[in-house]
């Protein structure tokens, strides 16, 4: 409960900061609409020439695109900016201020910087999921919706844990931003079901960089093609990776020597 209240508080602070620069909202909205518009136009062109893509109908790919956009928005809104600030703090030795607060340091460094306008990505993403799901029609039942929410949460936790591991490297390596950008460009591949990619790339996108669990697997859940193995794998990976990431974070924190302390 306190965690939610803190998250709300940081969102409020982010909003107050940004209200000074309201044109930024229009620019972000423009960027979101252009990006989604381009992706939809691409789909429209492809489906002029085919009825299904690797077994996926157009409506299902809209759902996938929505999941992609939602997760990208969540990451870009909270996790990305917070980890950027973490890296800056470690470099400048100002992380002390976080460590002295009476809250879990891992939680605080993960949520304390909020880029509020990226909410546009989340809203548009969810709208796409709903639109695609409705077009998909009667085949989406309540069970599938619940399963979707569960697997989406697992996917977000997996991507978060993966990025926390990368961010923790900042205690040893100064320029981790680069590795973050690499993850960002590989995440782009999540616009498509991973089953379309050649085997070697599918393995990379599933296990090396867990893009598949954040995009393809939740979309599979909503469209009723999720296998029991993938469900189990997503849940086990979410719990396991979160544990590993937290342990690695605590280990890394021991290497932090504040410059001001």
């Amino acid at each position: 409960m306190r965690a939610l209240r803190l998250l709300g508080l940081f969102f409020w602070v982010g909003l107050l900061n940004e209200l000074e620069y309201r044109v930024n909202f229009l620019l972000q909205a423009l960027q979101t609409l252009l990006s989604v518009g381009t992706a939809l136009a691409g789909l429209a062109v492809v489906f002029q020439h085919t009825r299904s893509l690797g077994g996926w109908e157009a409506a299902e790919l809209v759902v996938l695109l929505g999941v992609f956009q939602t997760v990208a928005g969540l990451m870009g809104m909270v996790i990305g900016p917070s980890f950027e600030r973490l890296m800056r703090d470690v470099r400048e030795g100002t992380l002390d201020f976080v460590l002295t607060k009476p809250v879990s340091a891992q939680f605080l460094v993960s949520i304390r910087q909020v880029a509020v306008w990226r909410l546009a990505d989340v809203v548009v993403g969810l709208a796409l999921v709903v639109t695609g799901g409705l077009q998909y029609g009667a085949r989406v039942g309540l069970g599938q919706v619940l399963l979707f929410v569960l697997v989406l949460a697992a996917g977000v936790i997996i991507v978060y844990s993966f990025r926390l591991i990368l961010a923790t490297l900042t205690f040893w390596v100064v320029r981790v931003e680069n590795i973050m950008v690499i993850f960002g460009s590989l995440y782009e591949a999540g616009r498509l079901p991973v089953s379309l990619y050649p085997d070697w790339l599918r393995v990379v996108l599933t296990f090396l960089v867990p893009v598949a669990f954040a995009t393809t697997v939740p979309a599979e859940a909503l469209t009723g093609r999720l296998t029991v193995e993938n469900l189990a794998l997503a849940l086990v990976l979410a719990v396991g990776l979160f544990g590993v990431a937290s342990a690695f974070w605590r280990y890394g924190l021991r290497h932090y020597t504040g410059a001001s302390a």
Binding site: L30, L34, L196
Partner: protein
């Protein structure tokens, strides 16, 4: 200073480019990881569309393209895109806002030479990453190439014209930074139109009616799709002549527009922070 033309003897220019080349090289070699990152960005987008179209084609063909033809198309696109892309629109925005352009204006040659030298050096350097990447992707996606000497010669000419056209057009658009500090919005719209009509989401022949008509009118097809199709031997006869003619005419138009806007923009320029 306002109406200064692109001047200097060829010898002077050669020395200028050599010096700029050395400076850029020294700067870029410091950021080797950034090169790798940039490479991923260049590779991932075409691979996504390649995977889509390869799947659509399956064992058959779509609009005259088999899966192996799509592989050849998108791998060539990677190379042509590398040869023609610029980041000048971002750079100008930055230089004008920071006032860095002032220093370049004081030098005895048009600033464009410095920007162009920078661009060319970066591309030569990154070619050492692009070529191995192309080799690896060729192994993975099995493209079908049939290259004749004529294709290569005409293709090279089309790529050079395309690079010149894209450079000048984007340089001209970049001058918008003289008038507004919200260039990023213009850039975003520009890149969407570029992606939709230049042959990136699909070969222009596969675009649906209205979008295809738009692509035929706009110059972006000539900056990417046309050189690719020449290299692949997919354009012949009248279409080939029309394509080259279109490139030359757009290029001439871009030169005129650039000169007008450059003169007008310089008069407005008051270096911020100078």
């Amino acid at each position: 200073m306002s109406g200064r033309a692109v001047t200097g003897t060829l010898v002077d220019l050669a020395r200028l480019y050599r010096a700029a080349f050395r400076a850029t090289l020294a700067i870029q070699l410091q950021y080797r990881v950034s090169l790798l990152i940039w490479l991923l960005g260049l590779v991932i987008q075409p691979v996504i569309y390649l995977v889509v179209w390869r799947t659509v084609a399956g064992a058959g063909q779509v609009g005259g393209y088999t899966a192996a033809d799509f592989a050849a198309y998108y791998l060539t696109l990677m190379l042509v895109n590398h040869a023609t892309f610029t980041w000048i629109m971002h750079e100008y925005d930055w230089e004008i806002r920071q006032g860095n352009l002032s220093a370049k204006l004081l030098k005895p040659a048009h600033p464009m030479h410095f920007h162009l030298a920078d661009n060319l050096t970066y591309k030569l350097l990154t070619l050492s990453v692009v070529l191995p990447a192309l080799g690896g992707l060729s192994l993975a996606f099995q493209p079908r190439w049939t290259l004749t000497p004529a294709q290569v010669g005409l293709g090279a000419l089309a790529v050079i014209l395309a690079a010149a056209l894209r450079w000048l057009l984007e340089y001209t658009l970049a001058l918008a930074a003289f008038w507004t500090s919200r260039v990023s919005a213009i850039n975003q719209v520009y890149f969407v139109v570029l992606v939709l009509t230049s042959g990136q989401i699909a070969p222009v022949g596969l675009l649906p009616g209205p979008l295809r008509a738009l692509a035929e009118v706009l110059p972006f097809r000539l900056m990417l799709a046309f050189p690719i199709e020449v290299l692949l031997g997919r354009v012949e006869g009248g279409a080939l002549v029309a394509g080259f003619l279109g490139q030359v005419l757009w290029l001439a138009g871009a030169v005129v527009l650039f000169r007008l806007l450059w003169a007008a923009g310089l008069r407005r320029y008051t270096a911020v922070g100078a």
